[in-house]
Symmetry: C2
Subunit: 209 residues, 2 copies
């Protein structure tokens, strides 16, 4: 993950935040950010802590839209908080930075190194986000639970270059991420085990094919 303030000195970071009229906010664990953030065209940056963008629809189906670690950026300008069903929920005490997207973009003719560097860093981060979204879409467009699982494994084993996949979350959340029923997923995992395709030990999955 690229630091949004990569290659920007502490001093310049302060100048930057002033220039962008940024606000720092603190949230306790398990609080909902959302309403603060939703209304306007805003970019948020996780300074410290951990949060999730979660959608809960009228049926009560929860879907994790995104995991927000330190340095992650989010916001109406970038994430799907446009949707009326989305919450950002902190999983730890979390410190975030709020920047108005329009103020940030409309600094014309800026010749400030730190400003341009910041924009460049954001470009790299959003590029990475697009890649992640594409992976998710690639998985979601598979038509069977089995193929969704195998695609998920393929992508995530590929990242570590091994035959192991370490789940970054629990199975309930995995089902949410894959947009499938948890019990149906559990059943399919059982079949995959029985047929000798995979081995599951806690959150570590070994690919045997």
């Amino acid at each position: 993950m690229i630091d949004p303030f990569y290659n920007i000195s502490k001093k310049n970071k302060c100048k930057l935040l002033k220039l962008l009229e940024a606000n720092t906010l603190l949230f306790k664990k398990d609080s909902t950010i959302l309403s603060t953030v939703k209304e306007e065209n805003i970019i948020g940056i996780i300074i410290s802590g951990y949060a999730q963008i979660v959608r809960t629809d009228y049926n009560g189906n929860r879907t994790i839209i995104e995991e927000l670690e330190e340095g992650a950026i989010f916001g109406s300008a970038i994430s799907s908080i446009t949707s009326n069903e989305c919450d950002i929920i902190t999983k730890e005490d979390t410190k975030i930075l709020i920047i108005d997207y329009d103020i940030m973009i409309n600094k014309e003719g800026m010749n400030l190194q730190f400003y341009n560097q910041f924009i460049k860093n954001l470009l790299q981060i959003t590029t990475k986000i697009v890649t992640d979204k594409n992976e998710r879409i690639e998985i979601l467009t598979k038509k069977t639970i089995r193929n969704k699982l195998l695609e998920y494994f393929r992508i995530n084993a590929g990242k570590s270059g091994s035959r192991y996949v370490y789940l970054p979350f629990n199975f309930t959340d995995l089902a949410d991420y894959l947009a499938i029923d948890r019990s149906a997923m559990s059943r399919e995992l059982k079949y995959l085990k029985e047929e000798g395709f995979i081995e599951v030990k806690g959150k570590r999955i070994t690919l045997l094919y």
Copy 2:
């Protein structure tokens, strides 16, 4: 859609392309770009024409990953051409620009207005791409064909602020986009018509609810 060269003069655009060691390529209608582009960390920009990123899996299922209009950017750094099943297919004669992502990003300490402006433009474009991807994910995570359709309609009627949805592609491609079987979609559309939820006239859908 934001022009990648917004706020950059013709003269500066030339300088920029030289600085970035950009290459211009021409493709005839219905040709496959792909192999030229796939290998490296590259950004492509559609100068003129129209193309699609299409994935065809081993079952022959086609999925339109992305529509590439004039000014659109794509590439291994940004799109999911990482996948081994992806093609970029031109639907018209198409002129594209190829830029090496690493060369572009690693121009340190640049104080050139046109360079910084270009990066900023790319940031705005990728931001928009993320929004689009999120919309698609929002649709794909719905569990029934009906809900996928309704979500698609909701999002796209919302854009024009009316009760009309104008499909940007045909129904076959819509089914690909929603990652559902075409005939099953056709059946569900019939039910939606019969139940008075929608009215379909060619590519215009009217929401009646």
